[in-house]
């Protein structure tokens, strides 16, 4: 079936607008789109979106992570093998993280990472035919926000929820950060790490995020206010 931007799409549909744009200039096909001989076909169920000038993708529901380059993910170190750590990122196989891909690490000066540690890292290599590879430094050798996440609490959620809360127009984090202080790291692989001053506050952030999955922006704002007032002891 032929579809337009903004339509609800199913795998096997095709969009001629993309092909038409592609004739004029280069277009970027994001997740859920695939070029075949005659048309650009949809591969996932969801909504077809466009960002000007030339980026197209399908917003779809997904829980299982499939590694993709340059995404920030949260993983758990499961094994030390030679000069590699093996990190579980929730994909079909573990990702490799070299001892040397930490800020200031040398052959002599190894980073202190133990099995079971939670790591916030960037996908360096993510090809379907190769083992995924992570790094904890940027291209200047600086660690930035990447590295081992100490303390805190990790939970899993769907990949959409991560995309939703990281979307600049989503009011969730904006509303929450005004209520009480906390630290948060969201991995594109459907894992969220949070750290707040008390256990109560940590759980409150967790519930607020999980509860936001099927809510609209206005409902999210109301929910945040509600949670804040419960936490402050105004409402029991």
């Amino acid at each position: 079936m032929k579809v337009k931007i903004g339509d609800v799409v199913l795998p096997g549909d095709y969009c001629d607008e993309i092909t038409a744009d592609g004739v004029k200039s280069k277009v970027v096909l994001g997740p859920g789109l695939r070029k075949e001989v005659d048309h650009v076909y949809i591969m996932k169920a969801g909504v077809l979106r466009k960002r000007n000038p030339n980026t197209f993708w399908v917003d779809s529901y997904q829980k299982r992570y499939v590694p993709s380059r340059s995404e920030n993910v949260i993983g758990i170190v499961v094994q030390k093998a030679g000069d590699l750590y093996r990190v579980d990122i929730g994909g079909s196989c573990t990702a490799a993280l070299s001892y040397l891909s930490f800020e200031g690490a040398t052959k002599k000066n190894r980073p202190e990472v133990q099995i079971g540690d939670v790591i916030y890292a960037k996908m360096l290599v993510a090809s379907k035919d190769m083992e995924p590879e992570l790094v904890c430094v940027d291209s200047h050798g600086k660690k930035g926000r990447l590295g081992v996440l100490n303390d805190g609490f990790v939970f899993k959620c769907s990949l959409n929820l991560i995309r939703k809360i990281l979307n600049p127009i989503c009011p969730l984090l904006e509303s929450l950060k005004n209520e009480w202080p906390f630290e948060l790291a969201a991995g594109m692989n459907g894992r969220i790490w949070i750290k707040a001053n008390t256990m109560r506050e940590t759980i409150a952030v967790g519930y607020a995020i999980l509860g936001a999955e099927y809510l609209s922006d206005d409902e999210i704002k109301t929910m945040c206010t509600n949670i804040a007032s419960i936490l402050a002891g105004h409402v029991s």
Binding site: L10, G12, Q62, K128
Partner: protein, 219 residues
Amino acid sequence: MVAEDFKDFKLKPMKCELNYLSKSDGSAILAQGETVVLASVNGPLDIKITSQSMEKATLEVLFSAKGGKPNVSDRFKESVIRQTCETAILGCLYPRTGITVTIQELEDFGGLLTCAVNCTCLALLNSGLSMKHVVAAVGCALDDSGNLVLEPTYDQIQSAAATMHFVFDSRAKTLVTGFTTGIFSEGAYDEALERCRAASDLVFDFYREVVATYCKVIG
């Protein structure tokens, strides 16, 4: 996530809930009339090296009947569903991994296998795996006087001279899978194929409605 009611004079009413199971990567429960099937999809996952394929994902289908021991006809159902899914999933995007589909029969009042195929397709949509197209299964029965009945009831199947089931893809509505029982003429086969092909549109519309109901909130 969503419950959707779909009424049509041609097909049995379909009701579906996606993401029915919290732990699997994709799941769906589908009722077509009285027949109810639950399907769950997991993957792409790590599997043992002997069953890995360099070219594409290895698909494994498990069908559990409502009661009793697994038997040869369950293997047959698994084979039908597996081969149908293999044409629909873009397995080449997930080499050396495994995709597991588990189907649980809950109620069987006729048309179990068509319901299972449709339910599997919905679970695959929910899992977010890349697919070439979606598939829709439609069944029909030929009674003794040569009349075609779409989506027959349990009693109609028992008394039918022949039953035919077809699965179509959503792109060109070509035949993906088909299986028949009983004896019938070539003319009856052609008519059944065309009627079912027309009816498959309703199933595709139903898929679109199900997806539309949850699409508003995931963005």
